[in-house]
Subunit: 510 residues, 2 copies
Amino acid sequence: MGRLVEITDVILRDAHQSLLATRMAMEDMVPACEDLDNAGYWSLECWGGATFDACIRYLNEDPWERLRRFRKLLPKTRLQMLLRGQNLLGYRHYEDAVVERFVDKAAENGMDVFRVFDALNDLRNLKTAIAAVKKTGKHAQGTICYTVSPVHTNEAFVEMAQSLKDMGADSICLKDMAALLKPQAAYDLVKGIKEKCGADTLVHVHCHSTTGVTLVSLMKAIEAGCDIVDTSISSLALGSGHNPTEAMVEMLEGTGYETRLDKDRLLKVKDYFAKIRGRYREFMSEFTGVDTEIFKSQIPGGMISNMESQLKGQGAADRLHEVLEEVPRVRQDSGFPPLVTPSSQIVGTQAVFNVLMGKYKAMTGEFADLMLGYYGTTLGTKDPEVLAKAEAHAKKPVITGRPADLLKPEWDALKSEAVKLENCDGSDEDVLTVAMFPQVAPKFFKTRPQGPKNLGKDPVKGGDKKEAAPAAKPDTKPAAGGNGADPTVPVTYVVSLYGREHKVTVAQKS
Amino acid sequence: MGRLVEITDVILRDAHQSLLATRMAMEDMVPACEDLDNAGYWSLECWGGATFDACIRYLNEDPWERLRRFRKLLPKTRLQMLLRGQNLLGYRHYEDAVVERFVDKAAENGMDVFRVFDALNDLRNLKTAIAAVKKTGKHAQGTICYTVSPVHTNEAFVEMAQSLKDMGADSICLKDMAALLKPQAAYDLVKGIKEKCGADTLVHVHCHSTTGVTLVSLMKAIEAGCDIVDTSISSLALGSGHNPTEAMVEMLEGTGYETRLDKDRLLKVKDYFAKIRGRYREFMSEFTGVDTEIFKSQIPGGMISNMESQLKGQGAADRLHEVLEEVPRVRQDSGFPPLVTPSSQIVGTQAVFNVLMGKYKAMTGEFADLMLGYYGTTLGTKDPEVLAKAEAHAKKPVITGRPADLLKPEWDALKSEAVKLENCDGSDEDVLTVAMFPQVAPKFFKTRPQGPKNLGKDPVKGGDKKEAAPAAKPDTKPAAGGNGADPTVPVTYVVSLYGREHKVTVAQKS
């Protein structure tokens, strides 16, 4: 018997988020649950921001009901979710009592493992959520967003792991959303965490497969002592998704490490999702290969397609290359944030603006907030000139404290707004849904009684393939002044980022 | 500086053989050659049986001329080919003088590295080819076809490596055509070979990526001392193809191992073939994911689709599962041959027959030959009952000697037959083309003056996707007696395997 390596399957959340634009209906997951529950997983990831969003935006499905159904269908296995720290599943910071209420309700509805992360790795944005999870008695997983920069040293990450442990985290997750974690780095990091935090510290590694190297990284992480790894059943894996579960099981043969997964169950689940995948062809990611250019640009695939559509909207599709070169500079100016939702979109959109309109001539409100500390702090220092421009643009000061400390208690106000909505049932769950998705929830409540929609189509009869729209996608569109044909005329852009619209006026294009 | 790991790119041969049914025209490879030649590869694989076959069968392209052009276009890099030992690039054994002539001509036209293999790992089928390569002063690579069976132990493979070295092989190739080589096995085998044959023995590992684990296996092979690995540029990689070259380069960062490849050149080659790939959509393999079922069934992907079409032709598409279970039994009965061209097709077709008509009630001539030693010897012993049936069927004795020893000098006869053909130029190259592809060459010579055909299509204007036909594909079709609706009526099948047709009569279906 070798050392046991535990597996989390992301098939019910991140796999279809990464490969099918988060569109999979609960109805299409139900038939796989018995096999998944009996396969021997450490946990099944099944809930997060994009799935919650897609439920109410596209599927007319109550995400809380989805969670309760998973709980009933998966009695033997831990349910796991991805939680954006102080942002919960939304795109702004929430006041602490709202964070606590959310965690309570998620736990009450059946969640076991809360993977808590912050896009900037600002620990102050994780503190309340981790404490709240601990209070419910559930598993609090503290997360390190992996990125590569001159300031993100092995030591810095190991320190962060220790701080998460000090904060009470039951395990440490190394989250490699962009598939940047190379084998040696994986080995060194896991080794470093185990040495610093103790060999009994549970280390859980999450990698995407986009760059093609991360199954090797998982092998090296396991050799360094990693306890749990994330994979996805092979029929919904690879590309910008994850490494295949079955490949993980097979590759360990004879190595002295082994999983406890039941191969016959995995085969059934694989065959099942192979069929389901065909039903979502319309939403399927075009990208199925590997892309190692990400190592140079540091730009995740989803972000590139966002920037492409932004540029297209401005009639500047040919300038993608310039934008790709601008992103690392914007990232450096803003203190090397990891590029993950929402920082990836904020940095990417700013890079588009810099290329189209001249360096920081226009600035999104979000980028100004990022510069000024309203999302939290970054590991690197910020460029003073860009910082000054951000202050001038946003007309607000730099903050150094925890962003959520600026917030006043808001639960009562959120509740009284929510209960006014048609069909809001007044439950804490409904209030939280409104709190996190104020623009989408009202419409969802109205149509909720009609029951879930399944966007999957019979692969034979189904319609033509059309452009897949991600669950949450920022876009820019010219509001006035056309497509900027005359460079001397002022141009106003409406930038919409997660449903909030911003007008950006540029005096003169350079 | 870490230890140097050298890379062979298979983009010009095995990549498009595995993913685009070998249809890529020379014209579509030419523009990539300058970057490939300057990227820093140990060698570029560019010639082999299927590419030769496809050239004359589908592309109206002279394969010898292709080789000469590669030689001119790739002056700095070794050219590499895959040679089926005593079979050359054809599907039968050739007399030694023909083997020698072929090797001379290949070397003369520009080939540098000859990867010589035998489907049964029978060293006697490699001897003449390896000696001939040595005589030309070129690089003779002795090949071990990797497979998994009770008789294929690490020790057995290591012994084989030593025998290849004794035979004069300049390097040892571990050829994992079905992606069965798991990480620990890769480590142990390379380590074993280095220990037995000496640390200075060049070890070259070739893996397909079908099962999803073999990039990890390449990492482990490198850790064990492997000198050269095969990869393919990422835009034509993965699925039943190979691990991506760029992923190999990136994954080694910081490990103490490194390639000498130029990333900028690789990027250009990648972008180029990404465009070319689209032109061959019609021939593209449907399979882009991973398949770990191969570990259980040992059946390579291409073989499954062959068997599926055989079963379909018999109106028995629903019996694939039985056939998949029969294959390992047929393989055991025949002494555990590795499953690679042609043994994979021979074993697969016999398994189809066993399922459709009862166990060994019908036997292909090829399967009888395999049982009786006419392809060479297998590592495992053969089932005596099945052996007796093979003797009865084929009405010829078991042989234990080297199959080619039965052959009389044949060059003069081959030449006099060849020169009779319209447009045969009488060169040794033309005679060899006829010798290896007697059914295809005559038509090719006739149309050769018209020049190469490019089957690629504009991806936008191009036609609908249709079934891709592999370069060489055995198939069964009922000759008389229809689809066997009446089980008491004798049924005759015509089985065609590589252009040779066989009538198989079955007295009564069980």
